[in-house]
């Protein structure tokens, strides 16, 4: 073979991006993907309604019945109020897990390949997907919260606390979306992921404090509850929305660390996913 041509002139522009450039790119990509998510939502508003059916059933049927029979002691707060943040977290969880399933579809359809041939670091691509899932979760949350209001749940009107709710939902969704992408990167097929997705979402939900206070759980369940990020998400939502006592610093701390960790793991597995 002949010798390689001389290196192209603008070598500095060709170097792999440093940390500063990487952060800027990541933020720009996150903004882009969130915007696309909003565009998709605008085109398909019916999804907001169909996806509200399940949380609505939980609130209306489960919530109202259990409030009436006082089966679950929640102190001075009505059970429905206690439940509403839990259902909010649940609906965000289901959306986020679905996002990981969607990425396999995107791989099969060539969409993922196309995204990966753009000048976007893997971690930025995954983070962008993760927060896009969060945007959808937040849009869904608006619907669920309106429903809760109609059912008479007393929610905070403090804009700062509502902003906190948005952040908690974004972080929680980012974690579960990346958990799902990680599993996708391990099992590589949509069918297997669907099975696993279904097999883990319900346990994640039931092994959290979304439906009942921690104190009611048997010891082993409490142990699981303490390592389940969903519980910290629920705690944060409960603390912010209905004023239940919680350690918000701990809740947000756990959510930030969990989301960052999972984004890192998922982006390490992304090339494997794209290849398989």
């Amino acid at each position: 073979m002949s010798v390689l041509p001389a290196a192209p002139p603008a070598a500095s522009a060709d170097a792999e991006p440093g940390p500063l450039r990487l952060t800027r790119t990541a933020l720009s990509r996150i903004a882009t993907m969130c915007l696309v998510e909003l565009q998709k939502l605008r085109h398909d508003r019916t999804e907001l309604v169909t996806r509200a059916v399940q949380p609505a059933l939980w609130l209306i049927v489960f919530g109202q019945v259990f409030t009436r029979i006082h089966a679950i002691p929640t102190g001075s707060i009505p059970y429905l109020d206690f439940l509403a943040p839990g259902i909010l977290a649940q609906s965000a969880l289901f959306i986020a897990i679905f996002y990981g399933i969607q990425i396999i579809w995107e791989r099969d359809a060539g969409v993922l390949s196309k995204l990966m041939v753009t000048p976007t670091p893997r971690v930025a691509l995954v983070a962008a997907k993760a927060f896009a899932a969060g945007v959808r979760a937040v849009a869904q949350a608006v619907v669920v919260l309106l429903l809760a209001l109609v059912l008479g749940v007393s929610l905070t009107a403090n804009p700062l606390k509502l902003l906190g709710v948005v952040v908690a939902l974004l972080l929680g969704s980012a974690f579960f979306c990346c958990l799902s992408i990680t599993i996708a990167g391990l099992v590589l097929s949509r069918d297997r992921l669907m099975g696993i997705g279904q097999a883990i979402t319900m346990p994640l939900f039931f092994a959290s404090n979304a439906l009942y206070p921690v104190e009611l759980m048997p010891g082993w369940l409490q142990a699981i509850n303490h390592v389940n990020p969903l519980s910290y998400e629920v705690n944060a939502l409960r603390g912010l929305l209905i004023g239940v006592d919680t350690n918000l610093a701990l809740d947000f701390g756990v959510l930030v660390v969990a989301a960052a960790f999972m984004i890192t793991v998922a982006s390490a597995l992304l090339p494997r996913l794209a290849r398989g």
Binding site: M1, P5, D14, A15, S28, T32, G110, V111
Partner: protein, 289 residues
């Protein structure tokens, strides 16, 4: 046109793509083996071969989607293993599948890629409109892409790939599943863009006729290796007078072309089907290999 004018007196140093000793295996399946390739700047280069020859795998290595060792591939002088981000900036890529986002409008699909390629905000809108116009999609730009025909989706994907003004356009089977009119539509636009910008085009296909008409040079790939390389005229002349590229293909691939491998059956079943039909045809084409 058996001699090649592009090789002499080219103002640019080095080829657009150079692969040296490329190899990739999926488990025990060797998909690409000892592959050497040079695509000259500004040419339309066709990578031809039957299903499973290793075309897509080669393309995926060149586009950074599959790992390549250092010094194995350069794109416009940049090493694919060492300068991945720089290489990605130079490439416009249209994968084998129809990959536009059906829920987004045509314009939103293109705008997404303008953003992902960091097209400056000031130029973005104009750039998006200009590629939509070049692909004749201005009128349909506000409709969701899922309402597009197969040919329109392919043009939309070209628009997505072109919005960043790439130096190298990589197309994996751009015309599979399209009717003859849509196929010509795609090739005509590729030619027009190349004319206007001088970009290099690397295209895979198993339609010999199309390669003959639209590619300046071609490489015939079979069972993970390149078996023949040259201008269509050169390759045909080697076989004999009145030879067609189909003959060249048969000569180089032995019996590989006995029916299913040339992709024509799948092509013929599709007229102006929508995105889903074309996807189905593509899947069939994939399974056949």
């Amino acid at each position: 046109m058996s001699t090649d004018p592009a090789s002499a007196g080219s103002p640019h140093p080095g080829p657009a793509v150079r692969c040296a000793g490329l190899r990739h295996a999926f488990g025990t399946t060797v998909a690409v083996d000892r592959l050497d390739l040079e695509v000259r700047r500004g040419e339309v280069f066709g990578l031809l071969g039957p299903n499973g020859a290793g075309k897509t795998t080669t393309i995926r290595m060149i586009t950074t989607l599959l790992p390549a060792p250092p010094d194995a591939i350069t794109v416009l002088g940049r090493d694919v293993a060492r300068q991945r981000t720089a290489v990605r900036r130079l490439i416009g890529y249209v994968p084998q599948q129809l990959s536009a986002d059906g829920t987004l409008s045509g314009r939103e699909n293109v705008m997404l890629f303008a953003r992902l390629f960091d097209v400056p905000r000031r130029e973005r809108r104009a750039q998006v409109e200009s590629v939509l116009d070049a692909m004749d999609l201005t009128e349909a730009a506000d409709r969701p892409a899922k309402t597009y025909s197969g040919g329109m989706v392919r043009r939309l994907e070209l628009a997505q790939a072109l919005v960043s003004a790439p130096k190298l356009l990589v197309l994996d089977e751009p015309t599979v599943g399209l009717d003859p009119v849509a196929r010509d539509g795609v090739w005509d636009r590729i030619a027009a863009i190349r004319e206007a910008t001088g970009m290099t085009v690397l295209v895979t296909t198993h339609a010999m006729q199309e390669a003959d008409e639209h590619c300046e040079r071609i490489a015939l790939m079979h069972r993970s290796r390149i078996r023949a390389l040259g201008t269509p005229a050169e390759l045909k002349a080697e076989i004999g007078p009145d030879a067609t590229l189909d003959d060249v293909f048969r000569h180089n691939t032995g019996d590989a072309l006995s029916g299913e491998a040339d992709g024509k059956p799948a092509d013929r079943t599709i007229e102006t089907g929508g995105m889903r039909d074309v996807r189905a045809a593509r899947r069939t084409a994939g399974r056949v290999g």
